[in-house]
């Protein structure tokens, strides 16, 4: 068939010269994002790898795994890693537990005005700079801050230690990551048609049973995505644990920062890689759970 006799419908196919080849179009779509995200990531990984193996022999210890041995043999490193994982884990559980009912409530809101207000409130933590937000929490939670004064007035109790310990760090982390937890859960909830809930009720289920046996399993993928995002964010948090921990709550990201400050690039690289691998391992496990629940649905 020649181009001249082509029907109008076939014309776009018959005139390939006018459009760019498929791979070029794809490359143009992906390119900018690729250069911004993937290249720096791999570049950083390569750099971290070379530093952690001391390939430049900056400190005269010789190339090889010696920095890794140093890290592994120092119990302090492990306890700080455990701090990071524990803080991230607790923050994740709390955020998801708080976000789920918030999402469920937002799903039921009819008033547009109220919905707009709710979204602004939800995203307000992201509108503030990290440092001023952390100082704000310090003021609220300190021994003679707003929270302790109110508690003292109401119950006549001594101030509860809420800053310069893990409690304060976790409160402040949950505050800022909550919107990232609400969104994926809310998104999954909107994809579950109300008819499943009605069907379960019709079969005799109570409200709680409907939640446990239908709503929660069907929204679990959103919960897992939320947990993945929150864990990654809180495991790598730096400003919040530094300021609210007051140096008494050490996380791996703070050690990395300190080592960079002391020009210990090699050890900083080892710690950064450990932090990354730990976060990836947790994501891997969560993704496995996600797959398993999907598989149960399709097999």
């Amino acid at each position: 068939m020649s181009g001249a006799t082509a029907t109008p419908l076939a014309a776009p196919l018959a005139a390939p010269g006018r459009v760019l080849p498929r791979w070029v179009r794809l490359a143009l779509l992906i390119g900018p994002g690729f250069f911004l995200i993937v290249l720096p990531f791999f570049g950083a990984m390569v750099m971290l790898g070379t530093y952690s193996l001391n390939l430049r022999d900056a400190n005269g210890m010789g190339m090889g795994l010696s920095l890794w041995m140093d890290f592994a043999s120092d119990g302090f490193n492990w306890s700080v890693l455990w701090n990071s994982v524990r803080i991230a884990g607790i923050s994740t559980i709390l955020s998801v537990a708080l976000a789920y009912p918030v999402a469920a409530a937002l799903l039921r809101v009819r008033s547009r005005a109220f919905l707009a207000f709710a979204y602004i409130a939800l995203f307000s933590p992201l509108l503030m700079s990290m440092v001023s937000r952390a100082y704000g929490w310090l003021l609220l939670l300190s021994d003679n801050g707003f929270v302790n004064q109110t508690l003292g007035l109401l119950f006549g109790i001594d101030p509860i230690r809420l800053v310069f310990n893990e409690t304060g760090v976790i409160i402040a982390i949950v505050h800022v990551v909550l919107p990232y937890a609400v969104l994926p859960i809310l998104n999954t909830m909107t994809q579950v048609p109300p008819v499943y809930r009605e069907a379960a009720l019709d079969l005799g289920a109570s409200g709680w049973t409907v939640f446990r046996r239908v709503t929660l399993p069907l929204t679990l993928p959103g919960v897992i995505v939320a947990a993945e995002i929150i864990f990654a964010l809180s495991a790598s948090a730096f400003v919040t644990p530094s300021l609210l921990g007051g140096g008494r709550v050490l996380t791996l990201s703070q050690l990395v920062y300190e080592n960079i400050g002391m020009i210990e690039w090699g050890m900083a690289a080892v710690q950064a890689i450990v932090l990354l691998v730990t976060a990836l391992a947790v994501l891997f496990v969560l993704e496995r759970v996600n797959r398993a629940t999907h598989a149960a649905r399709e097999s």
């Binding site: 009605e198 019709d202 289920a205």
Partner: protein
């Protein structure tokens, strides 16, 4: 004993009266259909029986007990949803066992009951299948099994076959009838398909604009429609308006196109205008010169066992005529002698007229 009684039930959404003054009695073990065009309030009526909607006024009574304040999960009814609503995270067995597990029955009993009901709906061996791996017809049968296994007093079905292709529809219609007979469960079946309602039901109600127009057996509804809507929605008909010439010994006599018709006259007097339904198959094509009138074919539809004609009379009125296809059909433009027996029409009340959907 009556299983379900609706008395003076209204449902208003905002300012729309979606269900209006519905009175309905469904007997124990009956296959009862709610028939009507889309949007006439069938689903809403069914949801009020199931407990998914509360009547704005009026009472829903099930087996003698007033249900208005009984929540959905405490009612002896189960609903097969228009969109099936099988749980996508559970396999066939767990979908069907859902209601039984809530009753905390022993595992062995659940297994036996699920096995029995899957046998009834011809799905033995599909226990471990994911619902996404079933065909539409199989999913529909799982939905029915999931409801029936709870042995509800009444099974409510909302257009359960609407989404299936015609052949499967016909097959499952027979299956449903068989299941209903085998279990003796009262069925309330919602459909907009008049053929389906006629062939399956013991009795049916025709709904229009939120109101019930008529309740009766399929034969009563077809042979003695009460309103113009029922007459035109169930099957086809010729709607005739005519003045009564005279009344003698309980019969009102009138004529249409010069041919006599008579209907029982309980409260009718001469000079009154009445509306009649004259079914197409009650009009005969007669030999030339026989008693009757001449009419011209404007459209002939060959339907296999019958032929459907649209014919124009001398006074330019159109009549639909249906005859057995026992000879070569008349062609467009041909004319023929037609006529009917005086008792061929029935008197109806004028309501709205159903649009011809075919």
């Amino acid at each position: 004993m009556a299983d379900i009684v609706l008395s003076a039930v209204d449902k208003i959404f905002g300012s729309d009266r979606v269900v209006s003054n519905v009175d309905l009695t469904v007997e124990n073990g009956e296959f009862f259909s709610l028939l009507g065009p889309s949007g006439c309030g069938k689903t809403t009526t069914l949801r009020m029986i199931a407990g998914l909607e509360t009547p704005t006024s009026g009472d829903v009574t099930i087996r003698g007990q007033r249900m208005n304040d009984v929540p959905i999960n405490k009612r002896p009814t189960n609903l097969v949803f228009q969109k099936m609503a099988l749980f996508p995270h559970l396999d066939v067995f767990e979908n069907v066992a859902f209601g039984l597990r809530l009753k905390r029955l022993p595992g062995a009993e659940i297994k036996r009951k699920v096995g029995d009901i899957l046998d009834v709906v011809s799905l033995t061996g599909f226990e471990k299948r994911a619902v996404s791996q079933l065909s539409g017809g199989q999913q529909q049968r799982v939905a029915i099994a999931r409801a029936l296994v709870n042995e509800p007093a009444v099974l409510l079905l909302d257009e359960p076959l609407g989404a299936l292709d015609l052949k499967l529809q016909l097959h499952l219609q027979r299956e449903l009838r068989r299941i209903q007979k085998a279990t003796g469960t009262t069925f309330i079946y919602v459909t907009h398909n008049q053929a389906e309602a006629l062939s399956m039901s013991d009795r049916l109600a025709v709904m229009n604009g939120g109101k019930i127009e008529q309740i009766g057996t399929p034969a009563e509804m077809y042979l003695r429609p009460a309103t113009s809507f029922v007459a035109s929605f169930i099957g086809r008909t010729n709607l005739i308006e005519a003045r009564i010439d005279n009344v003698t010994s309980g019969a009102a006599h009138l004529s249409h196109e010069g041919l006599p018709l008579s209907v029982p006259a309980e409260e009718l007097g001469a000079g009154e205008t009445v509306m009649l339904s004259l079914r197409p198959e009650r009009i005969e094509i007669r030999a030339p010169g026989a008693e009757g009138i001449d009419a011209t074919v404007t459209e002939a539809e060959f339907m296999g066992s019958t032929v459907l004609y649209r014919m124009k009379t001398a006074s330019d009125r159109t009549l639909i005529v249906q005859t057995l296809a026992d000879r070569a059909p008349l062609r467009d433009g041909e004319s023929a002698r037609i006529g009917w027996a005086p008792d061929a029409a029935v008197q109806i009340r004028q309501t709205s007229v159903a649009e011809d959907i075919e």
